[in-house]
């Protein structure tokens, strides 16, 4: 199963990005192979429609869960239609490494 995490940087020490559509990086973590991939978000500076474009970006990589700070109003129904589980974490101090550790419970 693949999990997408929104990140502010491209290392395990980077913090979780509170935004979904305009986050700096997407970390895609595979819980079976334990592999992490970092993708810079192509929609980071998009004037509008960053949320739906990001949904398409992560949906094309077949993730089944997304961890982020919050999801916007256009994103929520889209993710729900695609049956991608949304997880929101308001704690800004969490790093990507810690979140991956939590996913490995």
């Amino acid at each position: 199963m693949k999990v997408a995490i929104t990140s502010t940087g491209n290392s395990l020490d980077s913090k979780l990005d509170q935004r979904f559509g305009r986050c700096a990086y997407f970390v895609i973590y595979d819980t079976e192979t334990k592999a992490t991939e970092y993708f810079p978000n192509p929609n980071k500076d998009a004037p509008d429609g960053a949320g739906p474009a990001s949904v398409q970006f992560i949906a094309s990589r077949k993730v089944s869960k997304v961890v982020s700070g919050d999801f916007g109003i256009k994103v929520k129904p889209l993710l729900e239609n695609l049956q991608i589980q949304m997880i929101t974490l308001k704690n800004q101090e969490k790093t990507i490494g810690e979140i991956i550790e939590m996913l490995n419970h």
């Binding site: 398409q56 949906a59 094309s60 089944s64 869960k65 961890v67 109003i73 929520k76 129904p77 889209l78 729900e80 239609n81 695609l82 049956q83 991608i84 589980q85 949304m86 997880i87 929101t88 974490l89 308001k90 704690n91 979140i99 939590m102 996913l103 419970h105």
Partner: protein
């Protein structure tokens, strides 16, 4: 004459507060509060806070455009009444359901939803702890069963059809194309 049954209105999130209190010298303490329904709060939020037009907002709430306008008119009247007469506003009630069931994990303090309504959630999606609670109002959040589905033309993937939503707005999860 019997009134027509109201349709269910979809709400994305519950309001963060339960109401407003006026302050100032000339408050009459005995006045009745103005009751704002959750669907009315949602209409105001979608239209004036998120800046959507009535058409888009009605689609999000799964109701017709004219119904949305009616709700929106009613919320403006109620708010104006509360402001002018110095009444308390209390938010609650309404015929609403949530777009999905949200849960809260007490261990890692995260919120998550269930992507599949058929499987019961017993543990946190993030840390796996069993210390979770459902985050919803049990009385009002009935989700209606809908028999209609949209099918993907390429792989046959099935997605439940929603009222007020156009077929071309649904995307297939597997092939990423319109249904």
């Amino acid at each position: 004459m019997r009134l027509r049954r109201r349709n269910w209105r979809k709400v994305i999130e519950m309001p963060p507060i339960n109401g407003f209190m006026p302050f100032g010298k000339q408050i009459k303490t005995q006045t009745e509060p103005v009751l704002l329904l959750v669907e009315e709060y949602e209409a105001l939020k979608l239209c004036d806070y998120d800046g959507l037009n009535h058409h888009q907002a009605a689609e999000l709430m799964n109701i017709s455009r004219s119904t949305f306008t009616r709700i929106y008119t009613s919320v403006r009247q109620k708010l104006a009444k509360a402001f002018v007469e110095g009444r308390t506003i209390s938010i609650g009630g309404g015929k609403i359901y949530f777009d999905s069931n949200w849960y809260y994990c007490k261990t890692c303090k995260c919120h998550f939803n269930d992507q599949n309504h058929n499987i019961e959630i017993t543990e946190c999606a993030l840390c796996g702890s069993k210390n979770i609670e459902a985050k919803e109002d049990s009385e009002q959040s009935d989700i209606q069963e809908e028999a209609e589905y949209c099918y993907c033309i390429r792989c046959g993937h099935k997605i439940a059809k929603r009222r007020g939503q156009l077929r071309s707005q649904s995307i297939c999860a597997d092939c990423n194309i319109e249904l």
